[in-house]
């Protein structure tokens, strides 16, 4: 499914008469079946944008269209096809075994029996889910919880998947497996994936396209090779640092 964002704006009200523009009039298009890296420095407005794209927050201005559908009219249809993983917030129920949460999502998203079994087998093979499936999240390590969260968001084969820092606090080997898994999902199911991360190697190994925002404004929207050739280096980390620094300087000037 493709995503079209037009003139999106979100303003947070702080105290009396103080306003903070979190997202400032940004527009971009994400074609179906792509993995897009969505990055920016801390407090750039990434999460706010993601939360508007997932229908959690209502934009103050602008529109979001997912395959021609919008949240006002087709909320339920969009929700049925969207998966979200927030690295910092678990979707699983804290005190009950992981498998019960997965069963809840199976019924909530009307996943057919065969699909559920097939997906579970894949999760067990790739993510090693069977090791901790009968334990409640409160007893899991951060990495295990992330894997369980990924499984919970993919059990219903979403067409669009939002990953907000999915590799936060995860060891190198597990990271590798999770990336491999994301790539596989994208290739096999043609899932559109929007990935937010601070880990440059995540982007390097997964994303074709990149969207960079800073201070709520769109800085770059294009492919990764293009960005590299623009800056005449293959070191992505260096490029990102330069972009963030330029942003800071620009901001200082304005102030």
């Amino acid at each position: 499914m493709s995503i079209e964002v037009n003139n999106l704006t979100k303003i947070y009200k702080q105290k009396k008469h103080q306003k903070k523009i979190a997202v400032d009039n940004i527009s971009f298009t994400i074609p179906g079946g792509e993995i897009v890296g969505f990055i920016g420095p801390n407090g750039a407005g990434k999460s706010t944008t993601i939360k508007m794209m997932t229908g959690i927050l209502t934009p103050d201005n602008g529109s979001i269209s997912i395959n021609g559908m919008n949240f006002k009219k087709n909320r339920k249809e969009i929700m049925l096809k969207t998966g979200v993983v927030f690295g910092q917030k678990s979707v699983l129920c804290w005190d009950i075994p992981v498998i019960d949460s997965l069963k809840l999502f199976r019924d909530m998203y009307r996943v057919p029996r065969e699909v559920f079994i097939e997906n579970m087998d894949a999760f067990i093979a790739i993510l090693g889910l069977d090791e901790f499936i009968d334990q409640p999240p409160r007893l899991l390590s951060l990495g295990q919880r992330m894997k369980a969260d990924l499984a919970a968001s993919l059990i219903y084969n979403p067409d669009v998947l939002f990953l907000d820092e999915p590799t936060i606090g995860i060891d190198v080997l597990s990271k590798e497996r999770i990336r491999h898994f994301i790539k596989k999902i994208n290739e096999e199911r043609h899932t559109t994936i929007i990935l937010t991360t601070h880990d440059v190697s995540d982007i390097e190994s997964l994303c074709e396209k990149m969207i960079i925002i800073d201070k709520g404004a769109l800085i770059y929207d294009g492919t990764l090779p293009q960005l590299k050739s623009d800056y005449r280096t293959t070191d992505l980390e260096e490029i990102i640092k330069k972009i963030y620094l330029a942003g800071e300087k620009r901001y200082e000037k304005i102030c």
Partner: protein, 263 residues
């Protein structure tokens, strides 16, 4: 329908996840009932009950039934919603293809079922052993159960509305403390509502609290005319409708005010 059953099941499992808290809860109920029992017995012994509108026997029946109902009527809905809004976890509930309020309600029903089996039934057995005498007004039992169901809805909708106040206040426990005290007093779960002074009774007429305990307990324990039962039930029905409309409005307005906390 399956998804709601799953949610109810989760509610049951969540409530029974910590065994020691289950025991503590049950013991608290037994101690509370004994305390009420002893208190009212002492009050009637010292006063002869001449200026109290309920008789000694009626009062004891009232507090026993009120305590039994409270074992499954109590709910954690305010705490759940507050916690989710305060921590930002509400974001994960809003991306689901089912209504947030129905999700909360299904989970609440699960918790109530767990409470009914774990607390209500054993407590009723204990009471059967230690209290001899007619507890229920058998003729009115059917109406009483209907009234309890309505009270259950009112209790849920009330909690939902207070919980949703977190959209505006973010931290609502000071409000909860205040309202919890008012609720406990005015609903008649501590003291039979019939014993209230005139002014309090008048104020209470315009509030939903008495529809949660006072009305169903009175229908169950005191013989009433068919007409006054009908009147009581329609008061409850009125509050179900009114609170439902308020909760819908609070939801629609509040959701747009939502600021997801913590990144």
């Amino acid at each position: 329908m399956r998804k709601y059953a799953d949610l109810a099941m989760i509610g049951i499992k969540e409530h029974t996840a910590y065994l020691s808290s289950v025991w503590a809860n049950f013991l608290a109920k037994v101690v509370y009932l004994y305390m009420q029992f002893a208190l009212w017995n002492a009050l009637f012994a010292s006063n002869k009950g001449s200026n109290i509108p309920l008789s000694h026997n009626e009062t004891i029946r009232y507090i026993i039934v009120a305590t039994i109902i409270s074992t499954f009527m109590e709910c954690d809905v305010i705490g759940w919603i507050n916690g989710q809004i305060q921590s930002g976890d509400v974001a994960n509930q809003l991306i689901r293809p089912i209504d947030y309020k129905f999700m909360i309600f299904a989970r609440h029903i699960g918790t109530s079922l767990a409470r009914f089996v774990i607390y209500t039934i054993p407590l009723m057995i204990l009471i059967c052993i230690f209290y001899n005498g007619e507890l229920f007004c058998k003729k009115q039992l059917a109406c009483g159960i209907l009234s309890i169901i309505l009270a259950y809805m009112i209790q849920f909708l009330y909690s939902l509305i207070i919980g949703l106040m977190a959209f505006w206040l973010i931290v609502t426990w000071p409000l909860n403390m205040l309202l919890a005290a008012i609720y406990k007093l005015l609903s008649g779960s501590w003291i039979p509502a019939a014993m209230f002074p005139e002014l309090l009774t008048k104020i209470n007429m315009f509030l939903p609290f008495r529809a949660i305990y006072a009305i169903p307990v009175t229908i169950i324990t005191t013989p009433m005319s068919a007409e006054s039962i009908r009147e009581s039930l329609s008061i409850q029905l009125f509050w179900v409708v009114a609170l439902f409309l308020i909760s819908e409005a609070a939801w629609v307005v509040g959701k747009n005010k939502l600021v997801v906390q913590g990144g």
